[in-house]
Subunit: 128 residues, 2 copies
DNA sequence: CATGCTTGCAACCCTATAGTTGCACGTTGA
DNA sequence: TCAACGTGCAACTATAGGGTTGCAAGCATG
């Protein structure tokens, strides 16, 4: 436990037991970090499923911008696409959100433990 | 980074009851989206408290880069700084992590409910 | 006091990415 | 078949952000 995340481990490689979810969580965080993408998701959850063209009508950006964002969201697993005739419909997937929430909670707990331990050690040293 | 979901509701404005945490969560998400920042936090949690100079020795980036990242993390409430003589020590704060985890979990639940409702409505309509 | 660390500020590069526009392709339906 | 609509691809702009280097200023200890 001397070092942690020196090379490139995303932090929590030793914390979250869900190794497979790490990279997914990273993608989710990055996806959710953008305001436009959050609006997009919000609109999608609101109306259930929609095409990029329709969504572009709800947001202050072009259809192409929407498509790009949807692609990012799809990579993060937050949306899924399905062809419907000549148009493509997108709908939201809440699962990665939940996974990320768990990951964060787990990480938070790990930090808490570690920091408390450090604090105790420091006080003991000072007391000694 | 300067604004916080001004135009559209940040997604979850109707979901998370913790209004005070919304903007904080956004900052946390943005902060955690960067790999270097995650390494930084990991190192900080590992060694308890450290100066930017020390941290720069552990990461493959310059001290100035570390300082910038620490500033972002400080804005997100994930680290705190304290002067100690001629140097500045930083230490991690797990609280915003926990808050963000709760926010995400809450949002996930809201989505789930909403999406299930939509699905049911769609099936009813199709059945009708 | 003078030297050595450490911080702080500023200017600067460079890549990633959010955004745009234009056009070609495929699908639908009259 | 042909017009209309939606998607997909490509080129392009611009800005934010991660990273660097250099130097001035502050504190500590010989």
């Amino acid at each position: 436990m001397t070092n942690s995340a020196d090379t490139g481990q995303p932090l929590g490689a030793n914390a979250a037991a869900s190794n497979g979810g790490d990279q997914s969580v990273e993608a989710v965080l990055a996806a959710l970090a953008d305001p436009t993408r959050r609006q997009l998701l919000s609109a999608l959850v609101d109306i259930g499923q929609a095409s990029a063209t329709l969504l572009a009508g709800r947001l202050p950006v072009s259809r192409q911008a929407v498509v790009k964002h949807l692609h990012v969201l799809e990579t993060a697993g937050l949306v899924e696409r399905v062809r419907a005739g000549r148009e493509v419909l997108y709908f939201a997937r809440p699962d990665p959100l939940d996974a990320s929430a768990r990951w964060l909670a787990d990480l938070s707990a790990t930090w808490d433990t570690r920091l408390k331990s450090l604090k105790r050690a420091a006080e003991t040293t000072a007391d000694d």
